[in-house]
């Protein structure tokens, strides 16, 4: 008997480790080996994906990989401390890939497209209130818009991210004064930080917010369980997770088994990223910190990526039914009929 035959062939050059095939497999046959950069990213951003696509000269497709971040990408590219670069496998060889700069390149070259937030054709019919003016509030509003909800942001402060706020407004978000908030008029109320609880007469203790559900009261959620204060990427990540919980709350599924309703597990983490991020070794050979990549430099830099992550067959339960192959955006995966059947 031979049961460890390989039925799924993944092309290591073109696979962008997006994990779509893993999520769609109906027999739980596949797993995604997650690249270290993605493991380190609080946002679970598929760095390898857009880098590989940049290297292949497919800039439009690279943009697709980060489009869900919309106008936030610019903020992340400017302010993130880039744990991805610390985790990069190339760091110990000849310096990490300049992931942050590649992100900056995309954010700048496609700023116009990223500002245009795509909202679904059919509205969800739900009405969400967001309290706050900082990046977490912006991120919550962005996610709510993308889910088709009606969004009102209540704030009295001048936000730091006017460009993001403008993009949200253009996509349909309404900004109003805090005093106008009437919780009864909304299906969910999201506090961008614990402090905003006082507006509802709630005493939300910063440490008391559940890190998974982010729910503090029946329909009240708080996007900061403490992690958010570690940096911009963490704040946005918590905001996204919170909105995921809000959607599950609307669906009647009061727990989160993953960011996406489809993706629960299916990830394999093969290297110890914590050690890499914690180490003091220099990240990358010195480049001019202020410099900006042009298209050619970006492509050259991107082609340094080893492509550490990829999908693979783990469970040998394939029915060779083909959805994985059909859904792969890169035609990187080929379903072979198992040897015993071939």
């Amino acid at each position: 008997m031979r049961i460890d035959d390989n039925s799924i062939k993944v092309n290591r050059t073109t696979c962008i480790a997006c994990g779509i095939c893993v999520d769609r497999c109906i027999m739980d046959n596949l797993r995604l080996s997650v690249a270290p950069c993605r493991q380190a990213c609080p946002l679970d951003m598929n760095c390898q994906g857009y880098i590989r696509l940049l290297a292949l000269g497919k800039e439009e497709q690279a943009l697709e990989q980060v489009r869900e971040f919309g106008p936030l990408l610019g903020v992340i590219a400017r302010e993130c401390e880039a744990p991805c670069e610390s985790a990069c496998t190339r760091r110990r060889r000849d310096g990490a890939v300049h992931i942050l700069k590649l992100k900056q390149y995309l954010a700048q070259a496609y700023a116009g497209q990223l500002r245009a937030i795509a909202v679904p054709g059919t509205p969800s019919g739900r009405n969400v209130a967001v309290l706050g003016a900082d990046i977490a509030a912006m991120a919550c509003a962005l996610r709510a818009l993308q889910a088709g909800h009606t969004v009102t942001v209540f704030t009295d402060q001048e936000g730091r991210h006017e460009d993001v706020a403008d993009a949200l407004e253009a996509a349909g978000a309404v900004f109003r004064a805090e005093a106008d908030l009437d919780p009864a008029a909304h299906d969910a109320v999201v506090l961008a930080g614990p402090g905003h609880g006082s507006r509802l007469g709630l005493d939300v203790a910063p440490g008391a917010v559940d890190a998974v559900s982010h729910q503090v009261e029946d329909k009240v959620f708080c996007a900061d369980s403490g992690r958010a204060r570690k940096g911009v990427a963490y704040a946005i990540a918590e905001a996204f997770e919170t909105m995921c919980s809000v959607d599950r709350f609307f669906d009647g599924v009061p727990f989160a088994w993953g960011r996406d309703r489809y993706a629960q597990g299916g990830r394999v983490k093969e290297c110890r990223v914590d050690e890499r991020v914690g180490s003091n070794e220099p990240r990358s050979p010195d480049t001019d910190p202020g410099s900006v990549f042009d298209a050619a430099t970006a492509r050259r830099q991107a082609s340094r990526c080893f492509g550490c992550g990829r999908a693979f067959e783990r469970n040998k339960t394939c029915w060779y039914c083909l959805p994985c192959e059909l859904e792969c955006p890169q035609q990187a995966l080929e379903v072979r009929i198992p040897y015993l059947v071939r």
């Binding site: 008997m1 049961i3 999520d23 769609r24 497999c25 109906i26 027999m27 739980d28 059919t122 669906d251 009647g252 599924v253 009061p254 727990f255 088994w257 309703r261 489809y262 629960q264 597990g265 299916g266 783990r314 469970n315 040998k316 339960t317 394939c318 029915w319 060779y320 039914c321 083909l322 959805p323 379903v335 072979r336 009929i337 198992p338 015993l340 059947v341 071939r342």
Partner: protein, 557 residues
């Protein structure tokens, strides 16, 4: 262990053909009803219709056929062992179903005059209606999505929960992380398919089955444990399909002029798939392997056949034939008997339901391959998905909220923890499944005799001990796999017990007792019913009469 909990009105177990249809119908009737689907795989493509379908096997098109004709056909096909009402209701609703699917964008093939293309697939009558819809599941997925249904993916239901006599919900596990989930529901619809992983396919590859291998009989066993009756478990269905690949193509090739021949090139069937009995007989008499010949067909016809086969249902056969160097213009297609499956849709094994898809237990409904509406195929899965939803919605309207039995949840959780903590156990769960299925193949399917069936029941005891104490578990996937094997073993128990009881032979290869070779209509024109009980392997076997058009198995009060 932390158990995830949620509540809903209707819980649907299995998001395939029947499950999707049920969810859509429930939301259509009562948009405010909470509907949740648990799907073992991933909802977008899951189940038997992953890459679409090429025919709706039972449709009574007005002026061409009617439910009475269908009833006659299915009674002949089942050698009399079929309750009339459910099959009749399905036939009655089938044309309306086709029209509905067509409105949703499902493509049915029509000729220039606008008539549907019908094919002969039954002993008599042209009920099979050709469709060509690779994206059938995606169309359903979109419809479910529009209805605001809560879909929880990668959840395998493990057992149903009850509150007294009625259903109260279910307990399941995440197939990747192993976490448990409990959902309280007023009504539960079991739509978890049949049992595709019974014995081993001839190729030896455990998942190279004809039916969707994610269906491992979970639905049968859950319903059984909840007190429902199973019937037809002795019907071990087997067909003749592409050798090694177990992929269907008879209907598409033969109805377009293909010929099925035996080893002497004697033609068994041509133009219509109406004599599968002749095929089985030829195989029995060692006149196999059977082959399909297409060489005599004009190029356009071969092309049309290829276009359908290579895009829809199981498009993988394109690479299968390429690999083997088979070109329909020059080569025959070799057929071989498939592995055995228990299935209420192709065969006749499943939860005994009435024409309301009701199992007899308040709040518990079953639809699709898990329910015995013999040979209902996709038509039945769709129709009874709808029927189950209609009755569940009505039931939810009056039923109070059930209570969750915490002791039952704890019992499942404790055992779950014990199985997961496998210490130094050393049997690989894949090997365990391989051996179980090899042994099932040796003893349970035809040709059957009392000695063999009893031998299986002895093996079964051994496997059950090994299952609890011997199998190594590394992650959630392994654990889910172990539960699947448990269900495979218990389905084989049901099949063996039912086969021991039915002391006659019926349905050709599906139930051939060497020690009782004759068909005995005087004594055995009835159902063999399996329930939980105190006979061997905690089962009880009894018989029940076959019901006519005006009779129902369960008293609705």
């Amino acid at each position: 262990m932390n158990i995830r909990r949620m509540e809903t009105d209707i819980l649907i177990i299995g998001g395939g053909s029947a499950g999707c249809m049920a969810a859509i119908r429930a939301k259509e009737l009562a948009p405010g009803t909470g509907v949740c689907i648990w799907e073992k795989g991933d909802f977008k493509y899951c189940g038997s219709i992953a890459r679409g379908m090429d025919a709706l096997n039972i449709v009574c098109i007005p002026d061409l056929s009617d439910p009475d004709m269908y009833l006659e056909a299915v009674q002949a096909g089942c050698k009399g062992v079929v309750d009339a009402r459910p099959s009749y209701v399905m036939a009655q609703r089938s044309y309306e179903l086709l029209k509905k699917l067509e409105r949703w964008g499902v493509r049915f093939i029509r000729d220039k005059a606008g008539n549907y293309r019908t094919l002969q697939y039954h002993v008599k009558g042209r009920f099979q209606t050709a469709m060509d819809e690779p994206n059938l599941k995606l169309i359903l997925d979109r419809k479910v999505e529009e209805g605001n249904v809560a879909i929880v993916n990668r959840v395998m239901a493990l057992s149903l929960l009850k509150d007294g006599d009625r259903i109260a919900g279910a307990i399941g596990m995440n197939t990747r992380t192993g976490e448990l989930i409990v959902t309280r529901a007023k009504a539960v619809l079991v739509c978890a398919g049949g049992q595709a992983r019974f014995n081993l396919p001839a190729s030896g590859y455990m998942h190279g089955t004809f039916d969707f291998p994610g269906n491992s009989g979970d639905g049968y066993i859950m319903a059984l444990d909840a007190g429902a009756a199973l019937t037809g478990m002795e019907f071990c269905s087997r067909t003749n399909l592409i050798k090694d690949a177990s992929i269907p193509l008879l209907a598409i090739t033969v109805t377009r002029g293909g010929r099925v021949v035996d080893c002497f090139d004697q033609v068994l069937m041509e133009n219509a798939v109406n004599r599968t009995d002749k095929m089985n007989k030829a195989v029995d008499e060692q006149r196999g392997p059977l082959r399909i010949k297409l060489q005599h067909l004009p190029e356009e016809m071969v092309k049309e056949i290829e276009d359908i086969l290579f895009t829809c249902e199981r498009p993988v056969q394109q690479r299968f034939f390429r690999n083997r160097g088979v070109d329909f213009r020059t080569h025959d297609i070799e057929l071989w008997p498939t592995e055995v499956q228990l299935c209420g849709g192709h065969g006749m094994s499943g939860v005994r339901v009435d024409a309301n898809a009701w199992s007899g237990i308040p709040g518990l409904y079953a639809a699709g391959d898990v329910a015995c509406v013999p040979k209902q195929h996709l038509s039945g899965a769709f129709v009874f998905g709808e029927v189950a939803a209609e009755n569940a919605v009505e039931y939810c309207g009056t039923a109070p909220d059930p209570a969750i039995d915490d002791a039952a949840v704890k019992a499942v959780a404790d055992r779950h923890a014990a199985l997961a903590d496998s210490g130094d156990r050393d049997i690989d769960v894949r090997e365990f499944e391989y051996k179980v299925r090899r042994i099932i193949g040796d003893y349970v399917p035809s040709p059957k005799n009392a000695y063999k069936l009893n031998r299986w029941l002895e093996w079964s005891k051994v496997f059950k001990v090994e299952l609890e104490n011997g199998v190594r578990i590394e992650d959630g996937h392994d654990l889910a796999r172990l539960y699947e094997v448990q269900h495979i073993i218990r389905c084989a128990d049901c099949s063996a017990m039912a086969a021991l009881a039915r002391e006659e032979s019926r349905w050709g290869d599906a139930h051939h007792r060497v020690d009782f070779p004759e068909t005995d209509d005087a004594n055995w024109l009835k159902h063999v019913i399996v329930r939980t009980g105190d006979q061997r392997e905690h089962l009880n076997v009894s018989t029940a009469p076959i019901l006519g058009l005006n009779e129902d198995p369960y008293n609705a009060n």
